[in-house]
């Protein structure tokens, strides 16, 4: 091995995958050491009232881990979605956990005790087995993110492998800053659903390269739909989260930059739509002014 390869090799070996961590470990990995304190954890047994009615085994924390702790000493709240349970889908309880925790963070912010809210978004969207209660909870999550942003930045991380879809992709878009990995995907409708509804010519959901080229983390970052592209490493993501909060709130939130959104869409001709790479050139900072 030459002198250049050796340090890369050491760094590679020292790398610790964030994606391989379960939700609880992800939250613990990001918060300051020894500050993780779980809220409404498995022993509270706030389970789904609806899944057992359909013969589906309920997980004791309903697939969301809430933890208070600190980030560089500043009080923080992490909501981490467990994608291994029901695809990270949002049901009544998991949605209430996220919304309710953010609502308490908001109350603290309003009383001069800022809490930094961090969302680890690994979810297919609404849990269809709880349909309308999942959807309603997501609306409540949107509402509280928008209210919280007036006090503190709301930071989101989409790491993979499930990614962030459905109504929760809107939550990602509402975040003040969004951190993604290359393995992440971020989109409103899942590829399988698009293929189902619009046909395989519209989107071949088995074409993984195509999917990632359209909605993968690198593409989203390249067109300004994500703020930071980070490698799959727990320390790197933890650092990126701290950097995101340290930057403070953006001048204008991404979802409030409506004129800019309109301009970007205006330079697209749907009869001759740009492909993913062409879109990067079209939408690169400064190309649309």
């Amino acid at each position: 091995m030459n002198g250049v390869a050796a340090p890369d090799c050491r760094r590679f070996l020292a790398r610790s995958s964030f994606i391989e961590l379960a939700a609880r470990e992800r939250a613990r990995a990001i918060l300051d050491v020894d500050t993780f304190r779980e809220l409404v954890g498995p022993f509270d047994r706030c389970k789904s009232p609806w899944l057992p009615l359909q013969g589906i085994v309920a997980q004791a924390d309903d697939g969301v881990v809430l933890a208070r702790g600190t980030l560089d000493g500043r009080p923080a709240l992490v909501a981490a979605i467990e994608s291994a349970y029901q695809g990270g889908s949002i049901g009544e309880v998991s949605g209430a956990k996220i919304a309710g925790a953010l609502e308490l963070a908001l109350k603290d912010c309003e009383h001069g005790r800022p809490v930094l809210p961090l969302l680890l978004l690994e979810t297919g969207g609404v849990r269809l087995q709880e349909a309308n209660l999942g959807l309603a909870a997501i609306a409540e999550i949107h509402a509280v993110i928008i209210a919280l942003r007036r006090h503190v930045p709301v930071v989101g991380v989409v790491a993979g492998m499930v990614g962030c879809f459905g109504g929760m992709s809107m939550a990602a878009a509402l975040c003040s800053r969004l951190i993604v990995t290359r393995q992440a995907r971020l989109g409103m409708n899942g590829p399988e659903v698009i293929e189902q509804e619009a046909g395989v010519a519209e989107l071949d959901s088995s074409d993984r390269a195509l999917i990632w080229s359209l909605i993968g983390g690198e593409q989203r970052h390249a067109v300004g739909l994500a703020d930071d592209l980070v490698e799959d490493d727990a320390a790197a993501i933890a650092a990126a989260v701290r950097d995101a909060f340290a930057l403070g709130p953006p001048l204008v939130e991404r979802s409030a930059q409506v004129d800019y959104l309109v301009k970007r869409l205006a330079c697209i001709d749907p009869q001759r739509p740009p492909d993913a790479i062409a879109l990067r050139r079209l939408w690169r900072e400064g190309a649309v002014n």
Partner: protein
């Protein structure tokens, strides 16, 4: 693939009935109707998403909420906020009949998730700025489209009519995704209220301010329109009497039954929030 029915006209019909064709804000796209009309002596902004079969995006020609529609909603709601900054905050009525968000490769590539978020952000910001935001569901209120157009309202009203429904995914698509038959899904909805498709089951979740009965949803006459105007005014007054958060959704007696777990979670969170 889903069978192609002709797109619903309910949104357009109710938009024209409530605004009387007055105060229309001319703009593109044609699929988002915006007008300022008088309601109870007060200027009120109405917004509706309607089908435009000539939509420049092919996947949004049947009344779906696409990229342009979501952005247009955001634009016109934010203009309302801006215009009323130093004046009385006019009510904003979202007339909801949206079959879904647009499904397409280019919708995803160009960021429909952000466009929908921008619409939701605009409505929520209007609510927080003191505008009474009312959602009037006259047809379908589905998934991402409803999250963007209506679900950030202070108060949600719905017509009690068979075609009126709120859900996370259409029956055919949901059946395919969950690998069940439509009949099986409908059966589950009979005992599992949040899975049901009909609006009366939705009303039992405690999220609706009012289910408006006895109104002809397809071809409203003068009395039907007057009836709805009265309900809109009552909802606006109720919104103004309360706080701008969405907390009222959990306070209803129906919610105490069907959303008890949601309240229990919040109760425990409050208990555990500060370290013992």
């Amino acid at each position: 693939m889903s069978t192609q029915q002709s797109p619903s006209e309910r949104g357009r019909i109710w938009f024209e009935a409530l605004t009387g064709g007055a105060g229309v804000v001319e703009h593109t796209p044609q699929s988002v109707r915006v007008a300022d009309a008088v309601l109870g002596g007060e200027q009120t902004r109405y917004l509706a998403v309607v089908a435009d079969t000539h939509n420049r995006f092919a996947r949004a020609r049947q009344g779906e909420l696409g990229l342009d529609e979501a952005c247009a909603l955001a634009v016109h709601v934010r203009r309302t906020i801006g215009a009323d900054r130093q004046r009385a905050r006019r009510p904003i009525v979202a007339i909801v009949d949206v079959v879904s968000q647009a499904y397409g490769r280019y919708e995803e590539l160009f960021g429909i998730h952000l466009a929908c978020a921008a619409a939701a952000d605009a409505y929520a910001s209007a609510r927080l700025a003191g505008h009474p935001v009312i959602a009037l569901i006259v047809g379908k209120a589905m998934s991402g489209a409803f999250l963007a157009h209506g679900y950030q309202a202070n108060r949600i009203l719905a017509l009690d009519s068979p075609e009126v429904m709120v859900h996370a995914m259409g029956k055919q698509a949901a059946a395919r995704v969950t690998r069940r038959s439509v009949a099986e899904l409908e059966g589950l909805g009979e005992t599992i209220t949040p899975m049901a498709y009909d609006i009366r089951s939705y009303a039992r979740l405690g999220l609706l301010h009012k289910l408006i009965e006895g109104v002809n949803a397809d071809a409203p006459g003068q009395t039907d329109v007057e009836r709805v105007r009265v309900e809109l005014l009552a909802a606006i007054a109720d919104a103004r009497a309360g706080t701008p958060e969405l907390a009222s959704r959990l306070a209803s007696s129906a919610a105490c039954q069907t959303r008890a777990a949601s309240s229990e979670v919040r109760r425990r969170l409050a208990e555990q929030w500060d370290a013992a």
